[in-house]
C-alpha cells in the first residue's frame, strides 16, 4: 500500500528554483533515506509534504488522499482546509532541533496533541505516552522539563511526541545533526528499532552508514532534482553516476 506519493514537485523561493520536479513514492513499512549536499532541497521537500511550505506545482497524495494536484494550467491546487488538516494527521515530523515545548513537562509534550487534537482522554493519552517513554528508555524523565535533558534525550522525547499521534508515516529531518557525535548513536538506534517494527519512515540524513544499513530505498538529491534513486547497495556500491560518486567520496574521506 502506498503511503506517500509525490509527483513532479516544484518549488521556488523568490525566483530561485529549489525543487525542480521531485517524484518520490513510499510504500507501507518502507524506510526511505534522502541524502544529498547542503542546499539541495531535502528539507524543503520534507516541509512541502508536511505542509509547512506550499508547492508551486506537482501532486502529493498521502494514504490515498490527495493533498494537492495540478489544475489544467499546471498550477498547484490544494484540497480544502479540513482535508489538509486531516491529511496532516497521517504524518509525523521529527525536527533537527527537536522543537519541544519548553513550558510543558516531557509527559505533557507527548500527551498534549493526543488530548487536544485527537480528543483522547487524559488517562488514555498518558498510558500511551508512558509506554512510548519506556520504549525510548526515558521512563524516569516523564516529569522532567526539556531544558533538563540532554540533546539525545530531547530528540527521543520528540520522537515519542510524534509517535503518540499514531502517524502512518514519520519524517525525520537530520535528526542527529544538532547532537554531539557521541549522542547520535542513541537516536539512530531508536530509528533502527522503529524500522524493525515496520514503521514507514523517510529520513533525511548525513549518516551514510546508517542510510545504507536501515533504508530500503535511497534517494540522492542535488540542486533540487533527484540524481539517482534505488536500493542502498545500488547507490552505495554500484553507482555509475558521477555526481553520486563524487558526493559519496566526500564521506569516505572522513
Amino acid at each position: 500500500m502506498q503511503i506517500l506519493s509525490a509527483k513532479n514537485i516544484k518549488k521556488s523561493y523568490d525566483g530561485t528554483q529549489v525543487l525542480n520536479g521531485i517524484s518520490i513514492e513510499i510504500n507501507k513499512g518502507e524506510v526511505l533515506a534522502i541524502i544529498g549536499p547542503s542546499g539541495s532541497g531535502k528539507s524543503t521537500f520534507l516541509r512541502c509534504v508536511t505542509q509547512l511550505e506550499t508547492v508551486d506545482s506537482g501532486e502529493i497524495t498521502i494514504c490515498g488522499e490527495t493533498l494537492v494536484k495540478n489544475d489544467a494550467a499546471g498550477k498547484a491546487v490544494y484540497s480544502d482546509r479540513a482535508s489538509c488538516v486531516k491529511i496532516g494527521l497521517h504524518i509525523g515530523l521529527v525536527f533537527q532541533n527537536f522543537n519541544l515545548f519548553p513550558h510543558f513537562s516531557v509527559l505533557q509534550n507527548i500527551t498534549e496533541a493526543p488530548i487536544r487534537v485527537l480528543n483522547k482522554s487524559k488517562e488514555e493519552a498518558e498510558i500511551t505516552a508512558l509506554a512510548l517513554l519506556k520504549k525510548m528508555d526515558l521512563s524516569d524523565k516523564a516529569n522532567a522539563y526539556p531544558c533538563q535533558l540532554s540533546g539525545g534525550q530531547q530528540q527521543r522525547v520528540s520522537i515519542a511526541r510524534a509517535l503518540a499521534m499514531n502517524p502512518d508515516i514519520l519524517f525525520f529531518d537530520e535528526p542527529t545533526s544538532a547532537l554531539d557525535p557521541e549522542l547520535t548513536g542513541e537516536i539512530l538506534k531508536v530509528i533502527r528499532s522503529l524500522a524493525s517494527e515496520r514503521m514507514t519512515m523517510a529520513v533525511v540524513t548525513h549518516e551514510m552508514k546508517f542510510a545504507r544499513d536501515v533504508a530500503d530505498y535511497v534517494v540522492f538529491m542535488d540542486n533540487g532534482t533527484i540524481i539517482e534513486q534505488g536500493r542502498p547497495e545500488q547507490i552505495f556500491e554500484n553507482t555509475q553516476n558521477e555526481r553520486t560518486k563524487a558526493f559519496l567520496s566526500r564521506f569516505n574521506e572522513d
Binding site: Q51, I91, N99, L100, H103, V117, R161, M165
Partner: protein, 213 residues
C-alpha cells in the same frame, strides 16, 4: 492639623488611585494583546490604523489624552464622559498601546519551530497561540511588564488634571493649605507600599515560571 481627617481623605483618594490602576489593567491587557495581533497583521487596513493608534498613544503625553477625553469628547462626539470614565478610557487606551508593543516583542521572540511543531501535530491556530505560544510569551515579558505596572501606579496621579481627587491631589491640597510636610511623607509611603506589593507579585510570578528556560 487634623490627622484623622488627613488620613481618611488620603485613604479615600488611594482607593481612587487603585480603582484607576485595576480598571486600566483589566481592560488594557487583553486590548493590548489584540492590538499586538493587529500590529503584526500583514493586512494593511488592519496594520496601518493600529500603527497610527500606537504612535498617537505613545507619542503624546498621557495628560493630553486625559484632557482630550474629558474636554474634547463632547464637542467632537456629543457625549460628555464623566471624569472617572474619561480617565479610565484614556488610561486603558494609553496603556494598551505600551502593552501591545511588549506583547509583540514577546510573540516575535518565540522561535518559528514552536509554531511548526504545533502545526505538524495538528493543533489549530487558536490552540497553538493560547496553549503553546502565549504561556512562553508571558514568561519572557514579565520584566518589562513589571516596569509598566510600577509606572502605572505612579501615573494614576495624572488623573488630577481633569479634577479627579486621587492620592497626590489630596496630598497637594493639604501641603498647600497647611505648612506641613507630613502629607508628603505619607503619600510617598503609600506609593511605596503599592509598588512594593506590585514588585513582590512580579518576583513571585518570575519564580513560579522559573522551572523552564
Amino acid at each position: 492639623m487634623n490627622y484623622q481627617m488627613l488620613l481618611t481623605q488620603m485613604l479615600e483618594a488611594t482607593l481612587m488611585s487603585l480603582r484607576i490602576f485595576f480598571v486600566t489593567l483589566i481592560f488594557s491587557l487583553p486590548l493590548g494583546l489584540l492590538v499586538a495581533k493587529g500590529r503584526m497583521s500583514k493586512i494593511a487596513v488592519i496594520n496601518l490604523p493600529v500603527r497610527l493608534y500606537i504612535l498617537l498613544m505613545r507619542g503624546t503625553p498621557l495628560m493630553l489624552q486625559l484632557l482630550f477625553f474629558f474636554y474634547a469628547f463632547k464637542p467632537l462626539f456629543g457625549i460628555q464622559l464623566d471624569r472617572v470614565l474619561a480617565a479610565e478610557v484614556a488610561f486603558v487606551l494609553n496603556y494598551a498601546a505600551y502593552f501591545a508593543e511588549i506583547f509583540r516583542g514577546g510573540i516575535e521572540g518565540i522561535p518559528r519551530g514552536q509554531y511548526e511543531a504545533a502545526k505538524v501535530l495538528g493543533f489549530t491556530r487558536k490552540q497553538t497561540f493560547f496553549r503553546i505560544i502565549l504561556p512562553q510569551v508571558i514568561k519572557h515579558i514579565i520584566p518589562p511588564m513589571g516596569n509598566e505596572f510600577i509606572t502605572l501606579v505612579k501615573d494614576t496621579s495624572l488623573a488630577q488634571v481633569i479634577g479627579i481627587v486621587e492620592l497626590l491631589k489630596v496630598t497637594s491640597n493639604w501641603v498647600s493649605s497647611a505648612v506641613e510636610m507630613t502629607p508628603l511623607v505619607i503619600a510617598g509611603a503609600f506609593y511605596l507600599i503599592m509598588n512594593g506589593i506590585v514588585t513582590r507579585c512580579f518576583t513571585i510570578a518570575e519564580k513560579r515560571l522559573d522551572y523552564y528556560r
